[in-house]
Symmetry: C2
């Protein structure tokens, strides 16, 4: 039986809340890291990993939770650094003052650095076999690093004020948002030691999910309210950010979202065929994309 | 036969210069990462790892160099973030404009994030056995993370304007500078799969070397010139930084440096006793501390 997103979220919240303190050795740094980590994230990424482990027949024990929640540390770092005055200069995140508004830009930079480094500690500092821990480390570094998420961030900064075409925009989003969500799903396959074809199908599902996620986020910046989103909206257009609705209009972006979701469902079907198991547990994640 | 520091430096320079490009997928990000990475560092940390591998009878092949030079990526990230306007706000590093002066604080933040993440990629993305790669990852994360270097940085920021006592200052320096140099030496023992007592003696040598290094750096800020150091000097006092000369005077700091070097030499002797090998190759590293 696969846990619901809300059950997964609750155990991830508890785990993070209990285990951060053991690995941070400076009071303000801990407070700053904890502030952003416990600010009410959806825990979508580690929940995807844990749900994938369950659907593949693996056991979600403490070792697996430690390795999976590492991704939430890393995701939180990316939000803190992204919000910095030198980057997007955002004041509000999840309905609260951003880290640097609360702790100053210096401590916020260090909180991000600490969370990023600790993510790599957590994927290795657990009782999983060494080969699996090494594979998780490599996959996470590739997803998050200068050919993945960080490259996407750099492309985003560089692209401001330039009109990207659809291929360029898709490439940017694949790096900036897609790579980490792709890793989230793939990690479930690494942890349960799946075959190459199964890992490839998992990665494909994660990549399409990630693409849908970014298009949805762009659409919500146009269609949502600050209260709904917990962050400032309508920012993208003012900052000449490249977005799907900006390039294709709202209807065109919705069409692209629909396409990405169809591709994700195709990968979901393929996973069932390859493994003889049910991946209906992904439906609750795909239900996230409500317009 | 152990290579000289200058031979090691030269092969590390070549390796970094040749191999960075393959793992960065955005032009400005690459330029920014490369700018700081190739700005003329001494390469002391990976050189310590490689010399340790050689003294322990290991072979310095491409896998070992890949894993060892990861530490220089990580060290370079720490300098870039440390120089940021929100942190030390330094304009000059190794005689050149700092990364953010050249690329802006946003791109400099990303260059640091990219180098940090890539460091974890390089310790895993090589042909060493998985157990060794996993152990390197964990040791590096512990040294660099929020109970190691990042905690030291946070303590440094928090300590400005407060007078620390000698124990507190030593603790700060052990985290801020010592942890990474300790890792540099320990990594040589992990790579060559040494026993626990040998690893402990290596870690001890590295920790004492690291303490000496920070005291020396503090002393040079007082005694050196900008031309000698390639960075602004006499900054610590103006910023009310806690330093050894500030706390103990120049003579007192020199005495502490001497003590740390004696402890390092004791660990060097113990390593010889434990392994029956010569660790005279460390002499060239200890010769760094010329006053």
């Amino acid at each position: 039986m696969v846990q619901t997103i809300s059950e997964l979220k609750s155990s991830i919240d508890d785990y993070l809340s209990d285990h951060l303190v053991a690995d941070v050795d400076q009071a303000t740094l801990y407070s700053s890291m904890r502030y952003s980590l416990m600010a009410g994230g959806k825990r979508l990424r580690p929940a995807l990993t844990l749900a994938t482990v369950e659907m593949l027949g693996g056991t979600v024990d403490e070792n697996v939770i430690h390795a999976a929640t590492a991704l939430e540390l890393l995701h939180t770092y990316s939000l803190i650094h992204d919000d910095l005055p030198a980057m997007d200069n955002d004041d509000l995140r999840r309905g609260k003052p951003t880290n640097h508004c609360r702790y100053g830009a210096g401590m916020a930079t260090l909180a991000g650095d600490g969370l990023l480094t600790l993510a790599f500690q957590w994927v290795t500092d657990n009782g999983l076999p060494a080969a699996i821990r090494a594979e998780l480390t490599l996959a996470l570094a590739q997803a998050a690093g200068p050919a993945g998420m960080v490259a996407g961030q750099a492309r985003d900064i560089e692209g401001e004020g330039h009109q990207l075409d659809l291929d360029q925009l898709r490439y940017l989003h694949r790096q900036k948002t897609g790579a980490l969500l792709r890793y989230a799903v793939l990690a479930g396959g690494i942890i349960t030691n799946q075959s190459r074809p199964v890992k490839a199908a998992l990665a494909d599902f994660g990549a399409q999910f990630g693409l849908a996620f970014q298009i949805y986020d762009d659409l919500m910046d146009v269609l949502g309210t600050t209260a709904q989103m917990g962050k400032q909206v309508h920012k993208d257009a003012g900052e000449h950010k490249n977005t799907y609705p900006g390039l294709l209009g709202v209807a065109g972006a919705e069409e692209q979202l629909h396409k990405a979701l169809q591709s994700a469902k195709a990968a979901q079907t393929k996973l069932g065929e390859l493994t003889g198991r049910s991946f209906a547990g992904y439906d609750q994640f795909l239900a996230y994309f409500k317009l």
